[in-house]
Subunit: 385 residues, 2 copies
């Protein structure tokens, strides 16, 4: 029985993680979980999965749920609470699916405590990949990726000659504006952007998918997860999202992982790794039913966010943290109707230009970068609106 700490239990990856646990009650249990303030969604989950510790957004949420949760359940809150949940002694594994840079410290705490990490929180590696991977190595802890692309790469590396890896190739659906010209991107609405062709995800990721910043962040994650230089990480547009990513080897052989789009597969793989279990809720892929798979080159002129991510990644230090913060604020600006879609890339670019890079930043420097970059982008947005 593998005991799990789950951060972000009411989010998309969180609920799907619980689906996997639900399907294999003899294999997995949830010792601790966290959620923000979605009490309505969280309470039934607490009653169903019976964690011993629950962490919530703040004191007021903690007080609200106290009477609806069995007395023996410990309730904690805030970042402190999340860290306590992440490093909960009885858990073997942390599944971190919270959104945003708040996911970083709990991950580090769980690494310190020797937990296996199932990582769905992008920001952890984007902003602090150097710290996370260094500490994971020191603690002898495995970082198992929970998203379709990195899981695909991770699966395609198993049992292979690591020294012979020549290239990682991330597939990208291309998002909601895959087939639009630059001109057509000028006036797209929030509603247009939120229509993702293959995956049903949160608003932030859906916009990141449309700008291809999502792929850019994944490139940075892949750099850290798989110790791969940026010039050996490629992206290719693949609109069907069937080939989830590929690894190329020195003999020009490629290993790829495929399947119908479902987050359940990478989630379960992280939980069962290195084994695999049945997964009844997913459908079998028959390629003759799909018929054809399409691939096209990423047009970096049309999607400059991807180039910005490569640049930030190559610059290293605190630059990826600046990239991430600038992008979060810019996307927020777009979602709230204050800036246009193409302003996202302009704002990120000027934030990177404005950022004074800090080499090998510690946690405090990363937080400082985050705070300052957000302030900068917010002030730029205010000027525009």
């Amino acid at each position: 029985m593998k005991k799990i700490s789950l951060l972000g239990a009411t989010g998309s990856v969180g609920t799907q993680t619980l689906q996997v646990v639900r399907e294999h009650p003899d294999q997995f249990a949830v010792s601790a979980l966290s959620f923000g303030e979605n009490v309505e969604r969280a309470l039934p989950l607490i009653h169903e999965f019976k964690p011993e510790l629950v962490s919530v957004k703040d004191k007021s949420v903690a007080e609200r749920i106290r009477k609806d949760v069995p007395g023996h359940v410990k309730i904690v809150y805030g970042l402190e609470g999340m860290i306590e949940a992440a490093a909960y002694p009885k858990s073997e594994m942390l599944v971190n699916s919270v959104l945003g840079s708040i996911g970083l410290e709990p991950t580090l705490a769980a690494i310190e405590a020797g937990k296996t990490i199932g990582l769905a929180n992008k920001e952890t590696l984007v902003t602090a990949g150097h710290l996370v991977m260094e500490r994971a190595k020191k603690s002898g802890v495995a970082i198992l990726p929970i998203d379709s692309e990195h899981s695909a790469i991770f699966q395609s590396l198993q049992g292979q000659d690591r020294k012979a890896v020549s290239r990682l190739i991330l597939t990208a659906s291309g998002g909601s504006f895959r087939d639009r010209t630059r001109e057509e991107l000028r006036n797209v609405t929030v509603e247009d952007a939120l229509k993702h062709p293959n995956w049903s995800m949160g608003a932030k990721i859906t916009i990141d998918s449309a700008t291809l910043m999502n792929k850019g962040l994944e490139v940075i994650e892949a750099h850290w997860l798989f110790h791969m230089p940026y010039d050996r990480i490629d992206a290719v547009i693949h609109k069907e999202s069937i080939v989830h990513s590929l690894v190329e080897y020195a003999d020009h052989s490629l290993i790829a992982q495929l399947g119908l789009p479902s987050m359940l597969v990478p989630i379960q793989y992280a939980l069962t790794y290195p084994k695999r279990l049945e997964l009844k809720q997913t459908k079998r892929l028959n390629l003759w039913e799909t018929g054809s798979l399409h691939f096209q080159k990423v047009d970096r002129q049309r999607f400059p966010c991807l180039s910005l991510a490569y640049e930030a990644g190559k610059a290293g230090g605190s630059m990826p943290a600046a990239l991430n913060a600038a992008n979060e604020e810019a996307v927020q600006g777009f979602l709230s109707g204050r800036i246009s879609f193409l302003d996202i890339e302009t704002l990120v670019e000027s934030a990177l230009e404005n950022h004074q890079i800090i080499k090998d930043p510690n946690l405090k420097a990363i937080e400082e970068t985050d705070r300052r970059t957000r302030a900068f982008v917010r002030s730029q947005i205010e000027k525009k609106s």
Copy 2:
């Protein structure tokens, strides 16, 4: 330095094996090689790779080459000679790329002698998979497949949970008549059949590719190589021959091996396994250059040879040996212009109907099956012509 015995050195796989050796002179050497009677092609190879033992078709060929080969090179011939080459004491590995059922006994001898086997000879597993795999297991010898499909499956199984394999999916180019109707197949010529869209291969395999018998034989090989029941081996038409085959797991995740069509990759992988080396002579696959990959269901009405192979495989015992012998004779009949393309399937079918199955056949029973089936098919061809 890995020392290799190479059977079938002047054939297509043989010469490509030597290309791989040539590219890595610090890694591989050829201790022993065999060829049939293509002296012109063989002599430069003998001078280049300097084997200590050379086996040829018969005594007359042996006498012909004696004066052109350095005096210290031992020259042997016939099946005896091939067995001596296969089990040559200084070799670590046998690469068996001879065509036809003559490849079986040398393989068994090499297994007995504890050599790693790189197997490009289909007939070995089709006719005697039960014997080969049993003896390989007993001797603790690895059987490494050398053809693109089984190598792809083998590569896609590395580091994965073997117990969780749910299906093997062999891709098939569909051969030269992929898009023809049954009606159009009626009058195809030998010349039509020999135009294979993706691979340049020998005449026999090219015809087998057009009838899909090639895929049928591969299904039987896959059954033995990967211990997989026939109802968990599938085939899919994939005209680009980029995805070389796939493995499906219990979680509906598929692992696949991809690359531009080249036999050099599976050959080198067998030689370097579990490592990989650079392979300069092959081209990198960029999926955006390929553009799209197509898949379609195999129409077993149009390609009954595939169904016949499944039936023979499921029947087991000596039936696959009968299938193979009948097919070889029928293809020969077609190539020599004595029967039509569609006669191939009819002849194979009647040979299977005519065959009295022998359970768990030994070498002698397999040879007997081969001999009798060939005689039966030949007599049928004579009746027709």
